[in-house]
Symmetry: C2
Subunit: 153 residues, 2 copies
C-alpha cells in the first residue's frame, strides 16, 4: 500500500511541476482513505508556507474537523523540511513515508531528526526511500529545466 | 523600539487569551512599520498550524506581495517552536525578537537552535527575553485558569 499512496503523492508533485513549482506532493491517509492532498504552491499562490505537507495536513484536518491527525499517515515525495517536520509533530501524525532524501535540508533524519526526537512529547514512525528514484527524477527534471532556461536568457 | 513592538505582539497575545487560546502574539516589522500581525488561533479556527508567527508572517508576505521577508523583524511573545523557526528560515526573516523562553519546545536556542544553524543557507539575528516577565505572566495566567477549570469539573 505504501507504493500506492506514494504514487498518489507523486501525482500531486506532477501537478506542481506543471505549475512551474518545485515538484513536491503529499497525501494524508486515515484508515486506508486519502483525506488530504497537497502540492507545493509557494510561488503560484504567493504563499511562502504552502509546502505540499502543510497543504495536505491542512486539508486533512479540515476533512475530519480535528487538528489532531492521530492514526494518520503522511506520504510525501521529498523528506520534510524543518517547518514541515514541526507541523507533523504539532498535528500528531502517526507515520511519515517519504520518497527522496534531502541531505541539505531534510528534518526526518538528514539535517535534523525531529520526527524521532526522544525529548519531544510525540514521535512518529518514519519510512524513507519509497519510490525515491521516481521522486528524485521529477525533481532533477525540474531543476535541469530551470538551469537550461537560465542559461538561454 | 524593541519594547514598543513587543507591546504590540503582547496586545495580540491578549486577544488570543480573550479567545481562550494559548496566549501568544506576534508582529512583523519592516522599516519601522508593522506589516503583519498574528495571534495563536489553533483552536478557534480549527487550524492546527495557525500559530501567531505563521499568521503574522502570512499577513506580512501578503502585504508586500513577496514571500521573502528580507530586512523584516519578527516580534513574538514566546520563543518559536520548530515549525515556526522553519517558517522563519523559509521566509528569510532577518531578525527575531522573542519574549519568554520555551525550554521544552523552543527552537531559537532552547530545544533546537535552528535560527543560528551554520549549515543552513540563511541565519537570523536573535534577541530573547524582551518583556519576558509580562509575556510569561500572561501564559501562566492562562494555564492556571485552565488547571482551576479542570479541577472544578
Amino acid at each position: 500500500m505504501d507504493i500506492f499512496f506514494m504514487l498518489n503523492a507523486l501525482d500531486e508533485a506532477k501537478k506542481a511541476f506543471d505549475d512551474d513549482e518545485t515538484p513536491v506532493g503529499a497525501v494524508v491517509v486515515k484508515d486506508g482513505v486519502i483525506i488530504g492532498r497537497g502540492r507545493n504552491e509557494r510561488s503560484s499562490k504567493h504563499l511562502p508556507l504552502a509546502h505540499a505537507e502543510i497543504n495536505a495536513i491542512s486539508e486533512a484536518a479540515k476533512a475530519i474537523d480535528n487538528w489532531r491527525l492521530d492514526g494518520c499517515a503522511l506520504y510525501v515525495t521529498l523528506e520534510p523540511c524543518i517547518m514541515c517536520a514541526g507541523a507533523i509533530m504539532e498535528t500528531r501524525v502517526a507515520r511519515v513515508v517519504y520518497g527522496a532524501r534531502d541531505p541539505k535540508a531534510g528534518a526526518a533524519g538528514s539535517l535534523y531528526d525531529v520526527l524521532n526526537d526522544r525529548r519531544m512529547p510525540h514521535r512518529c514512525n518514519v519510512t524513507g526511500g519509497v519510490l525515491d528514484v521516481e521522486c528524485s527524477a521529477l525533481l532533477k527534471k525540474f531543476f535541469l529545466a530551470k538551469r537550461v532556461s537560465a542559461r538561454s536568457r
